[in-house]
């Protein structure tokens, strides 16, 4: 199954590049959301309000 | 219509009196053409074979680098804001700028192209084809470049950004422009027709994109 013949190097590099790039995208997207969520929570802790919540006050 | 013509006339007169922008574009074109043999070696056969490509690429680069100044000066002295707020539709303002760019930059570049071609030992029968292709295609080049210039107007790195945005869009012009010099039967007619089509399309479509960008720049 893993005997990929004379061009194995190219195939492995291709799959490796795919894992690296797509892994990078996944980390970027997930970390980006987490970072903004933490930022939002920090702002709310400091008492900043969104307009929608202002109307409730 | 009168206002449109007056606007073109104004840009032409400005370019004529200052002359510096046109001179710079011409100088850039000739330097770009002249520096390439220094990198490739003086083999005249090689140079005459690749001359159309070199001339087209240098032409496109000088067109991109010169289009920036067209909007920039009017923006700096505030006359662009006045124009866009005035009665003339922004589409027509953009079109008049592109026409002025074609007349003041592309036409002089086409005029010196035979000279630049001499430097590259271009074949005598290729030269008229090249000039025809330039005449057919560069109108579209001016309109595409005008839309790009309107988009990057007043940005910090605008001068650097513009080639990055616009050069990929020039691919068809370059391909058909150089394709007109191909020796295969019918290649010239086909390329010239496609270049005309590209130019017509750009003249019809690009002013709308440019006008959107101009109005955006006012906000």
């Amino acid at each position: 199954m893993f005997d990929l013949g004379p061009n194995a190097g190219f195939i492995w590099i291709s799959y490796g590049a795919a894992v690296l790039l797509i892994g990078g995208l996944i980390v970027w997207a997930w970390a980006g959301e987490r970072e903004q969520q933490q930022r939002l929570a920090g702002l709310e802790r400091r008492g900043l309000r969104r307009r929608s919540s202002q109307q409730e006050l | 219509m009168n206002a449109f013509l007056a606007l073109i006339g104004r840009d032409l007169r400005l370019a004529l009196r200052q002359g510096s922008a046109v001179g710079t574009a011409l100088g850039f074109y000739l330097v770009a053409v002249a520096i390439i043999p220094l990198g490739l070696g003086p083999d005249l056969n090689l140079l005459s074979r690749i001359a159309p490509g070199i001339l087209w690429i240098s032409f496109l680069l000088s067109a991109v680098l010169s289009v920036d100044a067209l909007f920039q000066e009017d923006r700096d002295d505030g006359s662009l804001d006045a124009l866009v707020l005035g009665p003339l539709p922004a589409e027509l303002i953009a079109a008049s700028k592109s026409i002025a760019h074609w007349v003041t930059t592309c036409v002089p570049l086409i005029v010196v192209t035979p000279l630049a071609g001499l430097l590259l030992n271009i074949q005598a029968e290729a030269l008229p084809k090249l000039l025809a292709a330039l005449l057919a295609g560069t109108v579209g080049v001016s309109f595409v470049a005008g839309a790009g210039a309107a988009l990057t107007l007043g940005l910090r790195k605008g001068a650097l950004l513009l080639p990055l945005l616009i050069l990929p869009l020039f691919t068809p012009f370059l391909i058909f422009g150089v394709g007109a010099m191909a020796t295969s039967a019918g290649a010239f007619e086909q390329s010239i027709l496609l270049l005309f089509a590209l130019s017509l399309f750009s003249v019809a479509a690009m002013p709308f994109a440019a006008a959107l960008a101009l109005r955006l720049g006012l906000e």
Binding site: L4, A17, A29, L40, R50, R51 | L155, L164, L165, L194
Partner: protein
């Protein structure tokens, strides 16, 4: 100002009193049906006269069907946008809260399905028999083709979102366009990398000026331009609209660029190029390819959703800071 705080001044009143929904639906159906039958007739007759056979094997045969699909899609977009503009009088749809709630529910499930599908696709692509012509190197195609497909699909999504933003000024469309570009650029880069890694054993060179590789390269430059333009403008609303104009400019030009590159390639046809994947692919290779393409598409949807969520949250933060700085005066409706 945040891009999510557009004033809702430019919104045409919805004309729902003009026709009843049934009449409108019937009219749309008749237009599509008449358009389809007329073009079907002409395409069929033209093919018969030209070749003596109906000619299904060419893509031209499918033009009427493509027209119908595009028409239905267009109608769908129209209906959705009308719904949105009607709805906005009651609740502001520019408010992305429903999107956040929905995507929050969908994403974990989607991620699970995507992970399973990718695992299945990878297993299948390594178990597939080697290709007769390309040998083991054909396995690179299982990544290359989905990445190339997504590089185009992602640009299409960017362009549609940009049109939505320019026409209806819907902030969520801008968020979608902004989130799609880096993902599309990465998939394009992946397609280029795997394409050249496939090219070395097949063509003997990492880079061949093949028509497809060349147009993907130009697509990559368009993505880079979009990223650079957005970075060059500080104001997010202006940046969004400038990027939208540029991506529409690119979308209009992509077919022309593709056509010109194909033309250029046939003009300078290199002698020893093995054509990649002809019209017939053996099912043993086709099925893993389809599974991978589907898995990559789901992956893209999940990534895009996640990136959109991050962007919405980022804009919320910006808006909150803006309200705070202005002392709670004119507020952003985020």
């Amino acid at each position: 100002m945040s891009g999510l705080s557009e004033p809702q001044t430019v919104r045409a009143p919805a004309e729902d009193t003009m026709f009843g929904p049934a009449l409108r639906g019937w009219l749309a159906f008749m237009v599509l049906a008449i358009g389809w039958s007329v073009s079907r007739y002409y395409v069929g007759v033209a093919n018969l006269e030209a070749n003596g056979n109906p000619g299904w094997d060419t893509w031209l045969w499918w033009v009427p069907e493509i027209m119908v699909v595009v028409g239905i899609l267009g109608l769908f977009i129209l209906v959705v946008s009308l719904e949105a503009s009607n709805h906005s009088r009651i609740a502001n749809l520019a408010n992305p809260t429903p999107f956040m709630r929905m995507s929050g529910e969908i994403l974990p499930r989607l991620a699970l399905v995507t992970a399973l599908l990718i695992a299945a696709g990878l297993a299948m692509s390594f178990r597939a028999p080697p290709d007769d012509l390309q040998g083991q190197a054909a396995r690179i195609m299982f990544i290359h083709v989905p990445a190339a497909w997504l590089s185009m699909a992602c640009y299409t999504l960017t362009a549609i979102s940009s049109a939505g933003y320019l026409i209806w000024r819907h902030p969520l469309a801008d968020v979608s366009a902004k989130a799609a570009v880096p993902i599309g650029a990465t998939f394009t880069l992946l397609a280029l990398l795997t394409g050249s890694l496939w090219g070395k054993p097949m063509w003997g060179a990492y880079w061949v000026w093949d028509a497809r590789l060349t147009s993907v390269l130009i697509l990559f430059f368009l993505y880079l331009g979009l990223i650079a333009l957005r970075q060059a403008i500080d104001d997010p609303g202006r940046a969004g609209r400038a990027a939208a104009i540029l991506s529409l400019l690119g979308a209009v030009n992509i077919p022309i660029i593709k056509f010109s590159v194909n033309w250029w390639n046939t003009l300078h046809q290199p002698a020893s190029v093995i054509r990649a994947g002809g019209p017939t692919i053996h099912p043993a290779l086709l099925i893993p390819l389809l599974v991978m393409a589907f898995a990559f598409t789901l992956l893209f949807v999940a990534l895009h959703m996640k990136a959109m969520r991050a962007e919405i949250l980022r804009r919320r933060c910006e808006a909150m800071i803006a309200i705070h700085v202005r002392g709670g005066g004119e507020a952003a409706n985020v």
